[in-house]
Each structure stands twice: as C-alpha cells, then as structure tokens.
C-alpha cells in the first residue's frame, strides 16, 4: 500500500479560469526578492503568466537557488526540454509548450506551459519550487522561500507501516511527545501544505495528523501518529539529511514492548546490497519433461535471485545450479527421469542457497535460460566434446521497484521499453556467446604455450589509486613479482609488462599508448595467458571484495578458474564480471583483470597492506592458472 499526501488545487472552474488567463500575454514583472535559508536571493527574470509567477532559466537568482538547493539545470538555448535534477535525486522534466511536467514516475499538470521569450525559457515558478520542496510565503513585508515537508509516503509491508518523510531542506527531527497511544514528531524549519488527518488502519497505526506551527521564517511541522494498543515505534532512521523514515509495528508483529525514543535520528545503516531475508526468492517447484531434443528441467522461482551453475567433466557428468538468497518451499525434491537425465535433486544447501543437481548419462549440452519465473535447463540428447563448465546470471523480475521517494503515479503509465531480461546479469555474462561483441571463441593458439604474461597495473607516472599511504602501482608490482616467482617454480615461463615502477610505454603517455604497450607484450610474445593485477577503489568506503573482469569469450573459463581459487582470499568474492576493459579486450589470449581488493575499504585495505595476504593472492592466482591449464591443454602440448 502506498499513499501520498499531495496538495491538489484543481477544479474545473479554476482550471478553466487559468486557461482563459493563459490567453493574456505574459508580462515582465518587478524583481522578486526572497529569503532562502538566511540568504537573500534576487530574481530578475520574473514574469506573470496566467496570474502566476514565471521564472527565466537564465536568471542568476534562479541559478543561485538551484545551487543552494543542491539541484542543477540541464538546458541549452533552442532545446525543447528543460530538466532539473533535484537533491533527491529526481529529475523534473519540463518542455516548451506543454503544461505537463514529469517528476520521476509522476506526470503532473502545471498552471501554464513553459514558454520562450527571446532565447530564454520561462518555467512555472510554483511548480519548480514544489519540485524542489519549497514554497514562496509572505512574512510581513518579506518573501520567504520556505522549505517544505514535501512528501510523507505511507508504506505498509509485513504488518509494519513506514512513514517516509522527504524535506525541501534538512529535516531536523524531534520527538515531542510519546505515549502508548501516540507519538508526535516535530520537523523544525519546514512548513507543509500536507496538513490534515489521514486514517491508516495498518501496522499498528490508526491515523497520521499533520499540522504546522511557528512562523513563516521559523516553521515547525508536527506529525502525530496515533497508535493502536500494543503497537510499537522504531527509532527514526535518517537517509541523508532530507529523508527520515518513521516505522511502526502492530502488536503481534514486533518484539519491542515499548516505544523507543530517539531525539536525534540515528544514522542510516551502511549501504549493503545483500538481499534481506524478506526479499529472498522461493524455489517453488522443479519439473522435468522429455522433448524431441532431450529434456527440459523447469525450475520455478518466486522472486529475484542470482544463480550460478557448474558442471563436471565426463565421465563424472553432474551439473548443478545454485540459486542464491533463495529458500526451497517444502522438503527436498528428488525426481527420477529418463535419458539424458538420470536424476534431479533439489535441496537447501545452506540457509540462503538452493541447489538443483542433475545427474546426466553423458556429456550432454545444457542451455540455461533465466526468465521472470525462474530457470529453464534444456538438456540436449547428443554428447558434446567441450561443454561450458560454469556460468551464472540473474533470474526473476529485475524491475525492482520504485525508490523510497517514488509515489504512485498520478497518471497511469504504460511501459514501452522492455526490460533487458537476463542481459542485466549478475556475475559473468550470459553463457550465450551470441551476446559477445567478439562472437564465439577465437580458437587462439599460443606460439609460446609455456609463457604467462603478468601485468602489474599502473606504474611510473600513473600511480593508480592511492589511499592511506598505499599506492596501487606498488601493490600490483609486489603481487606480480610474487606470482611470477610461484609460476617459475612450477615450470612456467613468465614475463612481466614492467619490472619496476615505470610506465610501460613512456612517462605521461596516453591511456591508449600505455595500455596497448601492455597488450603488445603479451600479443607479440604469443603468450598463453594474460593476468593484469590491480587494486580497486570507489568514491566511498562501502564496497569491498575481489573481482575478476573479462571481455572476451575466451576469458570466461580462465577467469572462472582464477576466481574459484581467489574466493578463499579472505574478502568477498564478487565473481567474474564482463566489461569493455582495454587490456582484456585487446589481448588475443585468455585474459583476466583481477581487482584484488578495495584500497578504499578499511578491512580490504588491511589485507592489501599485508605481505602475507598478497602472497596468498599470488598463490591463489597461480593455482587458478594451473587448474585452467590442466583443464584446457594446448593441442600437442603437455599439460602444465
């Protein structure tokens, strides 16, 4: 259930009057001076249209307002669309000559359509202010741009109600009254047009009442939540400075006995992409059906999940697919079937993984196809010599919903752009090789099948990322040398793209020259494999883990072997990811770019700083190389 308090001022008579007023030519108006968060802003490109204020998009005051509100404008002279990105972020789309404007999933009607005067577009000011969560108010002789409690979304889920408040300015929350029957919260510094009482009747919440007190310049919006007997209130949660979530549970759905007071909103929990238990998918059924090509196994899944499949080589012809963050509905499943499938089993292998295992009567090809309802495994009837051994992706509905600030559309919307289905896969690209820009496997044969080229990322004039005293270029060289020593001890020939802290091509060279020089080392030598070693980074400290990046079909099995061993390196295994990276894309041999860990994450940083851990990573990469070489021997060459 999602409801939103929205102030509406439409009536047929009023709208008709506005339409008649729209025939009156817009006229220039006197400058508008208004206070906004203690600053005086002077708007000079102001006009009246239909009895309402219009603002020119090139007005310096308007630019200052957007800047202070954390918003920005996308518009060029001559263009029809005027886009404003707010701090939510949400994009507000206006267009010349169209009264409609779009705010996220909502299509709304403005009092008048944006119009052009000279080379400047004028927008309906009230609607712009509303989108920014502001309202123009009069305080005596002073005009004030008053931040608003712009939205209070009511969401119900699993016997719990969450009131998601969004402000046009920072929301300073106080609990001003709490009892078993009601909680009253004060949002200082914001007014609202959402005043009134709304009956809820769910999640232990009887009703929500909104009122405003204080002055125009110093308003306070009060939100009183009346509770049912035994209902509990959780501590408010901030998400940024303009969003606060107030959550309530009915008597039987929450363990808390009393309302918890939190005068100061608690910080938001760290971003975590791990699906919650409540969002776990459910495997509801597994069926098999013979067909002309062999047999089809249909795995029905309710919800979205990541899956990963593996198979063993002939003669141990077993195949299994793990569906992550999933629960098996009911007891384990065991199906007896006919050729080419000997048996099918489904069971819960750990609290969050369901495994469906097939025993086959030969080295049969298996085509794995995800859909919104689960997975289909098409098992072929004829043996194949070299079936892919692993893969993965996403299944279920990938259309995850509106954001926390999204409201129900005022206007019904109909999708016209299809979702990309499984092309938005999780780790590793689709096993369908038609999806590769390079097409199927290249058939590359190394001229030097005992040579491994190791590329220590960055170096010389490019230190890569650096954090807390560690430099990526130093770390990658260290790990590359450790890997080299291990491989040489195991009988490989090894060439590093650089042996010291230097550029491979030239100092301060272009990215293309530098990266191509590294590619050339491997291509010119006819190396068997290419490994580029890096340390990852991000704009915040949240992400961590090890990732293997690839670009070509030939890279898949190699990266899988390396990734399988790196999974034990002590940080999170983020799997194998396909991307258009220069060195993996342009090398002719199987290649992998290993982002060993995040320099920007404290726990990963500690690992990278450890020589023991770097040695472990080198060992694991070497193990992956060895496993791959044994599994995919070069024709007419002994396995390593």
């Amino acid at each position: 259930m999602t409801n939103r308090f929205i102030a509406r001022t439409s009536s047929t008579a009023a709208t008709a009057a506005l339409v008649l007023l729209a025939t009156i030519p817009a006229r220039a108006d006197a400058p508008l001076v208004a206070l906004y968060q203690g600053e005086t802003i002077r708007f000079t490109h102001v006009a009246q249209n239909s009895g309402r204020l219009a603002i020119g998009v090139q007005d310096p005051g308007f630019a200052a307002l957007l800047h202070n509100a954390g918003a920005w404008l996308t518009w060029k002279p001559g263009e029809r669309y005027v886009l404003i990105t707010t701090s939510v972020p949400a994009v507000i789309s206006f267009a010349l000559g169209d009264r409609r404007y779009d705010a996220g999933p909502i299509a709304l009607q403005a009092a008048f359509a944006p119009y052009e005067r000279g080379n400047e577009v004028y927008l309906p000011f009230d609607e712009v202010l509303g989108a920014l969560g502001l309202a123009l108010r009069q305080d005596g002789n002073v005009k004030v741009l008053q931040p608003q409690l712009a939205a209070l979304d009511v969401r119900e889920s699993d016997g719990r109600v969450t009131l998601a408040a969004h402000g046009g300015g920072p929301l300073h929350l106080r609990v001003v009254q709490q009892s078993a029957a009601a909680m009253t919260y004060a949002f200082d510094g914001v007014g609202t047009t959402l005043s009134g009482t709304r009956k809820i009747g769910a999640g232990g919440v009887r009703s929500v009442q909104i009122s405003v007190s204080g002055t125009v310049s110093e308003p306070t919006t009060l939100v009183t939540v009346r509770l049912e007997t035994g209902a509990t209130a959780q501590a408010p949660q901030n998400n940024g400075d303009r969003d606060v979530a107030l959550s309530f549970s009915a008597a039987s759905s929450g363990p808390q006995a009393v309302a918890e007071e939190s005068p100061t909103p608690e910080p938001a929990p760290p971003e975590d992409n791990a699906p919650s238990a409540s969002s776990a998918a459910t495997v509801t059924g597994v069926t098999t059906e013979p067909n002309a090509d062999g047999a089809t196994v249909t795995i029905t899944v309710n919800g979205s999940a990541i899956y990963e499949w593996h198979r063993l080589r002939d003669p141990d012809n077993r195949f299994w697919v793990d569906i992550k963050n999933a629960q098996l509905a009911g007891p384990p499943i065991e199906l007896s079937t006919s050729s080419p499938i000997v048996s099918v089993r489904a069971r819960q292998t750990d609290p969050s993984t369901v495994r469906i295992a097939l025993s086959l009567d030969g080295s049969k090809p298996i085509e794995v196809t995800p859909s919104v309802t689960g997975l289909t495994l098409q098992v072929g009837g004829e043996d194949v010599a070299d079936a892919p051994r692993s893969g993965g992706g996403s299944l279920g509905s990938l259309i995850s919903a509106s954001g926390p600030n999204a409201a129900s559309p005022v206007t019904p919307v109909t999708p016209v752009t299809p979702a990309p289905a499984d092309t938005s896969s999780g780790d590793l690209a689709s096993p369908d090789e038609n999806n590769w820009k390079f097409g199927p496997r290249s058939g590359y044969v190394p001229t030097n099948p005992r040579l491994i080229v190791i590329d220590p990322g960055h170096g010389g004039s490019d230190v890569g990322t650096q954090h807390g005293g560690l430099r990526e270029a130093d770390l990658t060289l260290d790990m590359a040398k450790r890997l080299r020593d291990i491989l040489i001890a195991r009988g490989w020939q090894v060439k590093l793209t650089r042996e010291s802290d230097v550029d491979v091509y030239a100092p301060n060279d272009s990215a293309r020259d530098e990266l191509q020089a590294r590619v050339d080392v491997a291509n010119n030598a006819g190396a068997r494999l290419f490994v580029s070693i890096h340390a990852n980074a991000y704009i915040n400290s949240g992400p961590y883990g090890t990732t293997c990046y690839i670009s070509k079909p030939d890279d898949v099995a190699f990266a899988r072997s390396v990734e399988t061993h790196l999974a034990a390196d002590g940080t999170k295994d983020d799997g194998v990811i396909k991307s258009h990276l220069y060195v993996t894309y342009h090398t002719r041999m199987p290649a992998v770019l290993v982002e060993t860990a995040f320099l920007t994450n404290p726990s990963d940083y500690a690992l990278l700083a450890s020589a023991q851990w770097r040695q472990k990573v080198a060992q694991e990469i070497a193990d992956g190389i060895g496993e791959y070489a044994r599994a995919y021997p070069v024709p007419n060459q002994p396995a390593q």
Binding site: T15, A16, V19, T74, K76, R80, L83, T85, V88, P89, V91, S93, A95, L96, D98, D102, G104, P105, I106, A107, Q109, G240, D243, D272, N273, I306, I399, S402, N405, A406, P409, T411, V413, T414, P415, V416, T417, P420, S424, D427, K437, T465, E472, A511, R512, H534, A535, N536, A537, I539, G542, P543, T547, K578, S579, H580, L581, L593, F598, T600
Partner: protein
C-alpha cells in the same frame, strides 16, 4: 439577421475553444510512456531499474527531435541515479549531462569533467557506464552510446580501464 449570427458564432467559437482545451488537457493522461532508468547494484554488475514517465511527442516535435529529447532525458536520469535511499553505484559527485546528440543508432552523451573524479577503480567505472548504456539504449532506435567528457572523447577515464573512445553497447557488459 446579422445581429443574431454574431452571438451564435461567438458561442460556437467558445465551445470549440473549450473542447479543444479539454482534449489537450486530457491528452497527457491517456498516452503516457515510461523509460527504464537502470542502476548498477553494489555487487558491481547486477542491474535494476526505476521507471520514469516520458511525455509523448508534442505538436511540432519531429520524431528525430523526440528521440533526441528522450535520449537527453534518459541520460540525465541515469547520471542522477536512483533516489539516495537505494544502494547503487553512482557517478562521481557533481557529474552532469552537458548535452546529448543522436547520429543514426548511436547516441552521444557529453558528461561534465567531474566524471573523471572517480576513485580510479574498475568497480565504479564499470557500474556507472553499464547503467548509462543500458538506460540510453532502452530508447527505441538507439543501440550504442558514445561518451564524451566536456566535449571531447577520452581513451579512458584518468587511471581507468574502460575503453571510452568508441561507442559502448549493451554487449560490452
């Protein structure tokens, strides 16, 4: 006779004007499209999306201009990313779309120089551009995205690995 025709004509004109207005005012509520705005989740590669509404072609807006406007809108949405409460890989703070152009089936999206201020990891650049490419190629007729930064093609972002001096396709990710 003439004196009675004029008021009737006036009333007819008012009725036609009101009917026209009514039709136009209702038009947007019965013909709304949406765009899927993709974002890359923090596993580094999985996509999800939020849908935003897109106005249908306006009077006087050619099909080519509408496609250009849709591309611009989609690119701005993708670079803005989902609301802050959603965990997603995001472009470097301050990154904006400076403009968009369409040539055949390739859209060019010009980003501000702040895009280069990413932290230097493959995680960010892969996730950012995957979401942008998926979003923009969701526009009918667009199958590739050429990224420029402040009007110029870059081989890669500084210290980056993703090849940016040629159009990116969904199959690159």
């Amino acid at each position: 006779m003439r004196s009675t025709r004029l008021p009737v004509l006036f009333v007819l004109l008012v009725v036609v004007a009101l009917a026209s207005w009514y039709y136009r005012s209702q038009r947007v509520t019965s013909n709304t499209e949406t765009i899927a705005v993709y974002y890359t989740k923090l596993d580094g590669t999985s996509l999800s999306d939020v849908r935003v509404s897109l106005r249908p072609p306006l009077p006087g807006e050619s099909a080519a201009e509408h496609r250009h406007n849709a591309v611009l809108y989609a690119a701005v949405e993708a670079v803005a990313g989902p609301p802050n409460g959603i965990a997603a890989i995001r472009f470097a703070p301050g990154t904006r779309v400076l403009g968009a152009a369409v040539d055949g089936s390739t859209a060019t999206v010009d980003l501000s120089k702040e895009v280069a201020q990413q932290a230097g990891g493959t995680f960010g650049e892969n996730g950012e551009f995957k979401a942008l490419v998926y979003t923009v190629t969701g526009i009918a007729g667009i199958d590739a995205v050429q990224v420029t930064v402040d009007g110029s093609r870059l081989e890669t972002l500084p210290g980056g690995h993703l090849e940016l001096d040629q159009p990116l396709h969904r199959s690159d990710f």
